[in-house]
């Protein structure tokens, strides 16, 4: 059924269709509509789940871990400060191999207080052992939740579904809400490889000495390495049932492109407009939207970008003292594989709009120079 949904409600519908069994969440702008709708769904018994209305995000994730360890499918949603408060437990989820799915609305970190979008909140959690899916549309948000549960539960690795504050969370789009029956066919109930039960008592997460810890982390990485193929495979299976394709990356007119933009989130769709605009002017531009940052899609990124003459990475985030984080990621993936020059642009921090004009500056600067004129190009900053 086609509905007009805001991004936040697309998250709620994704969770509902995935038949989540335990939800624990705490309100934070701009996430609130996710949990408001889920509360209503639980109250109306459209969704048979226990919703624990916790007193903090830290407790939200802790409750999810307990529930997931019991073998229940669990979901939460948060943003920025809330995600940062969860940080400790994000490690607990991946280290405990608990496939929780979390919706995070990308919001800039305080201070000063900001409720507007940038990616520093989720990118600060890049190394916690979670899969990270950066979404570009409300349809993708809904579809990603369902697919993420499937991948997460197979690998016993948690997953984060990420969407931009306001430009997606509060923006209404037409979304196809698939039939429950079809989703059930795609996503069967959670069958954990282990669970906490008095029938077979284990102590989970006890003191682990240097004799064992290393191997457990090796296993986590090895399973994370299985994720790219599984995400692609799951995307294909989804496409067969629902007619919509999602993969690790979303290339747009990259095949013959001389300049390829690398983007993520909704910026990836603005970039498409810029690509078309410049192509009309005769410049061969393409856009590679990275949908999955963890696991990093090495092969896709290498094979697509190494054909280009120049690569321009647009980061709505920064690792202070280094560079944009997608820039670092792309550059390290290309190192030794391609000598294509990589231009790094930082823009849109704290919700500053990224418009066609922003891309115009980026594309023109990339076109004008053989190599990046400075380590970081700041687009739109009032210098």
């Amino acid at each position: 059924m086609r509905k007009v949904l805001m991004g936040n409600h697309a998250l709620s519908y994704g969770a509902m269709l995935s038949r989540v069994q335990v939800i624990a969440a705490y309100p934070i702008t701009p996430q609130t509509q996710v949990v408001e709708l889920l509360s209503e769904m639980c109250a109306e018994k459209i969704l048979d789940a226990q919703f624990i209305k916790v007193e903090s995000e830290h407790s939200a994730m802790a409750a999810c871990l307990g529930a997931s360890l019991a073998g229940a499918r669990t979901f939460t949603a948060t943003s920025a400060q809330g995600l940062a408060l969860m940080h400790e437990l994000l490690h607990w989820a991946s280290g405990g191999r608990l496939p929780v799915v979390l919706g995070n609305i990308n919001r800039a970190m305080a201070p000063g207080w900001s409720i507007w979008t940038d990616q520093n909140d989720s990118l600060s959690q890049r190394d916690t052992g979670w899969m990270q899916f950066y979404c570009g549309s409300n349809q993708e948000v809904l579809d990603s939740v369902i697919q993420a549960f499937k991948v997460a539960e197979k690998l016993h690795i948690p997953a984060m579904i990420i969407l931009d504050a306001f430009s997606l969370s509060h923006t209404y789009e037409i979304v196809d809400v698939p039939d429950q029956e079809k989703v059930d066919k795609f996503l069967p109930p959670f069958q954990p490889k282990f669970r906490l039960t008095p029938d077979e008592p284990h102590a989970f997460g006890g003191l682990t000495s240097p004799e064992h810890y290393f191997e457990l982390r090796y296993k986590l990485q090895k399973d994370m390495e299985k994720a790219p193929a599984l995400i692609e495979e799951t995307g294909q299976e989804f496409e067969e049932l629902f007619g919509r394709k999602l993969g690790l990356v979303d290339p747009y007119k990259c095949d013959d492109a001389e300049i390829i933009l690398v983007t993520s989130g909704t910026t990836g769709y603005t970039a498409r407009v810029a690509v078309d605009h410049f192509r009309e002017k005769g410049l061969k531009v393409g856009n590679l939207r990275i949908r999955v940052l963890r696991p990093f899609p090495f092969e896709k990124v290498q094979s697509i970008l190494s054909h280009a003459k120049k690569v321009a990475v647009i980061d709505r985030n920064i690792s202070y003292g280094h560079h944009g984080i997608f820039y670092q990621e792309v550059k390290s993936a290309l190192y030794g594989n391609s000598s294509v020059p990589v231009f790094g642009y930082i823009t849109g921090l704290g919700g500053r709009d990224i418009t066609l004009n922003t891309f115009q500056k980026i594309i023109e600067e990339t076109q004008r120079n053989e190599t990046p004129p400075e380590r970081i190009s700041w687009i739109g900053v009032k210098k």
């Binding site: 280290g95 191999r97 016993h156 282990f194 989970f204 997460g205 064992h212 191997e215 296993k219």
Partner: protein
Amino acid sequence: MKKQQPTKKIIFHSEKEMPLAPYSLGSMLHNRTGAWRNIRPEINLENCIQCGICWKFCPDVAIYIENEYPVVDYTYCKGCGLCAEECPVKCITMVEEEK
């Protein structure tokens, strides 16, 4: 409660033998905590009134009951001396371990 039998240590030769997450697969009974002991309780059953207090207050579950009398399990007794201290008829003596 019956006498507990020590278990074997669990050895993983490769990560493949290990579970996905760190969870227990066996009991601590392989850990013979009797080695911690400096003094040992000896029960003089002649005077024992079978009150069960020594059994009740043992933090190490190292006193079991056999034929209605308490028996110290020296495999695990850490020698804290609580049983001797709490015995109402003082029929438990703490004796220096020979090293």
